[in-house]
Symmetry: C2
Subunit: 451 residues, 2 copies
């Protein structure tokens, strides 16, 4: 009945029960169990989404949003079936104002497409989670990535969201001003709410000037503790790195094996310096001195694009090297801790991987205290997935214990629900009350975030 109503209200061409569409929206890039929705809608406007939510309210049907499917915690999986809103047709630029360094886009635009548009004007949207995620998905999960050390996460780069609430009201959470002290901060609240509080229909973002000059560098250390200490030293020195990444020795070996390379099999730090030329050069020289004092080896720098790619190759190819082992799947942790606790957490991560008997690496956005594991498992071998998942869980709990978070950038979704009480304590009740207030019927992405 509700599917009939959707076709009636949106038109047949925006409503699909085609097997391909149902399958496409059944899973993301995580190992969480796929579930197909009953129907996929392809809205083209906010008005379409208002109609979908009205039908969902009337028939009490769950509504789950789907962007690029690049999520890593199952946020987009419609575990209670119902309607999936697929944003692929809502990928337009609503308003681009280069002189204000802001852009308003529909949620289905991907970050790479966005950058193609703004780059021509000397601007970048710097948040870079790796995958070519949609801006809506990135806002919904408060995504970040390699550049967070300089630009923060989506929440830091978002000025305004247009949101359709469960009751049909349409709100704007902010304005186009760069800062405001007016009203309660709803922009931050809806950013990272994973489609559980409302459906985002427009996102207004800050843009930044493309740095004049970029320089990449790499060096190695014998132990992980010194890598973390090195990252601390760089941050304390006031060098404003663009990126600062850790890849552990096991992961380097994996990339070497996968790509037939011969990189030194040591824990490796990758740097990107970006800004004005003199600044970048001075920063890289200072960084080199500081890192040498800590015993770094194999320091290599590159300014031209081809050489830069070469210097960063092991970082770039890492995920691919792990995930393309035949017949294997992968999972990983996403903890973020106060930077002084990084060495012990990274060591603990390595221990957990060794104990699991599985192959896995540690890599991270070490400047934020955020790091990941990638642990391979064979889904056909009994117990392997459970052992892989255990490494994630143990690491999340330890991160919370040392004053950090179970998820630095991937979000809660299905995988981190069980840690909400441990991490947030009494605040979980406040969060649940907000959910109850904004979605009393529980139609928005039910079964996510809170148990």
């Amino acid at each position: 009945m509700f599917i009939h109503m959707l076709k009636d209200q949106l038109g047949n061409e925006k409503v699909s029960q085609n097997e391909t569409a149902l399958f496409a929206c059944s899973h993301d890039e995580s190992p969480h169990q796929a579930v197909e929705p009953e129907v996929v809608c392809f809205p083209e406007s906010r008005e379409d989404i208002e109609k979908i939510l009205e039908i969902a309210r009337t028939y009490h049907v769950p509504v789950t949003s789907f962007g690029a499917g690049s999520g890593l915690e199952g946020q987009a999986i419609p575990i209670q079936r119902g309607i999936v809103i697929h944003f692929e047709k809502m990928n337009k630029v609503v308003d681009f104002s280069p002189e204000d360094m802001t852009i308003t886009v529909q949620p289905g635009l991907t970050r790479k497409s966005l950058n193609k548009i703004v780059n021509r004007h000397g601007l970048i949207f710097p948040v870079d989670p790796g995958a070519d995620a949609t801006i809506g998905g990135m806002a919904a999960t408060n995504a970040s990535g390699t550049t967070a050390v300089r630009y923060g996460a989506m929440r830091d780069q978002t000025l305004d969201l247009e949101v359709v609430l469960a009751d049909g009201k349409v709100i704007h959470t902010g304005t186009r001003a760069k800062k405001s002290s007016s009203g309660y901060n709803l922009t931050g609240l809806f950013t990272g709410s994973e489609g559980t509080l409302g459906i985002i229909t427009e996102v207004t973002l800050k843009l930044h000037g493309i740095p004049e000059h970029t320089l990449m560098a790499r060096c190695t250390f014998d132990d992980i503790e010194t890598c973390a200490a090195a990252a601390q030293t760089i941050l304390l020195s006031g060098i404003s790195v663009m990126r600062m990444e850790l890849v552990d020795a096991t992961s380097i070996a994996q990339v070497n094996a996968y790509g037939a390379y011969d990189y030194p099999v040591h824990h490796t730090l990758f740097f990107e310096f970006a800004g004005m030329k003199a600044a970048v050069e001075e920063e890289s020289v200072l960084a080199k001195e500081l890192l040498h004092d800590l015993g770094c080896r194999d320091w290599e720098v590159a300014t031209d694009p081809a050489k830069q790619k070469e210097v960063w190759r092991t970082r770039h190819e890492l995920s691919y090297a792990f995930t393309h082992v035949k017949g294997m799947r992968d999972t990983g942790a996403d903890v973020c801790v106060p930077i002084s606790r990084l060495p012990e957490l990274v060591s603990y991560a390595r221990e957990l991987i060794e104990e699991s008997g599985l192959t896995g690496g540690v890599l991270g956005h070490i400047g934020d205290g955020n790091f990941h594991t990638i642990v391979l498992f064979n889904p056909k071998v009994e117990g392997e997935q459970e052992r892989a998942m255990y490494t994630n869980d143990a690491l999340a709990m330890r991160a919370i214990e040392v004053g950090g978070t179970c998820t630095g950038e991937h979000g809660v979704g299905l995988g981190k629900m069980k840690f909400q009480k441990a991490e947030h304590g009494e605040a979980v009740e406040v969060m649940k009350n907000m959910k109850q207030m904004l979605d009393p019927e529980g139609i928005l992405n039910p079964g996510k975030m809170f148990e």
Copy 2:
């Protein structure tokens, strides 16, 4: 009766009805009507605050928080009397972790005291609203100031808040990790909530390395439009200024008159460049070229502290020059708009001041699109205060019309309540529901933020 209970629970020494204490907590630095509370409490711990809130709940008495009294919108004025919580005894450092570049403090510590502590370790807490406000007050209003162009506002610099809710629950809104995608963003929600959703009892802040080198500069332009265009040009060039401030010609004349100086009476831009030496020097040279292309005059730079102070003197002495005119009081707007709308808004501000027949200046954190007026009025001359207030109101409405905010950094308090509906539309209902949910009895700073 409730005062008796307060004395009983907290001890007499923490509870005062002394006229001096009542008067001190009756007003802030704004012209909003002073109102004395019935009693002032001086808690020393979170436990004291829990006791105060329990008594407030039991006897249904309003509770208003008071920091340094440097607010500009009456947030701390106990307009429904009752209890004021004065934070002067809660000014301790709870946890300082230089290696994590974080610090946790009680809300009564002022930002200058905080900086004294962290500066010794090569660190700064950069948010600078001018006044030596308390960290609690700054968090409660989402304060910012001259450095927001680089570091953002309090919300961007706050990792975690400990909050006592109206129902007595104690929550932490975040963790000590630099970023997180876990749970709903309560840190951002309580930051800027002006004591209406809970009482902040601890604030955990990000710290930054002290820039190695600082350079200040000044230049003038013939018209305000070009000043705004110049600010845009600098931002688009990718120069990461530490401060970029506008002071209009009228204000320069006021400072000249007040201090017997002889500065060029033109619209003036002030810059602070900060970072590594080579970077700062390169940035200042590029800035000079860009500004000269736009027709700037009187370019002056300074690197040594005495000369820096001299270069920035008119900016520093501005507020003082206006507010110390004998017998006069002052008020001012606090709008923030998309930067392309700055020229017209600043021109409109000047028109409004001319039309009012009052003396006033325009100054601003032009890199954020945030600017203020300072309008002098004689409270004894009928109609002057009303005319001064009208300039604020007209400017706030215009800012909202062009996609900006009625308050960039001072907060809502009493003065900006009437603009909430115009600025936030339907979102105001969501905000009111949050207030209702978290403070159903309306004991927390009643009569503020929403009409």
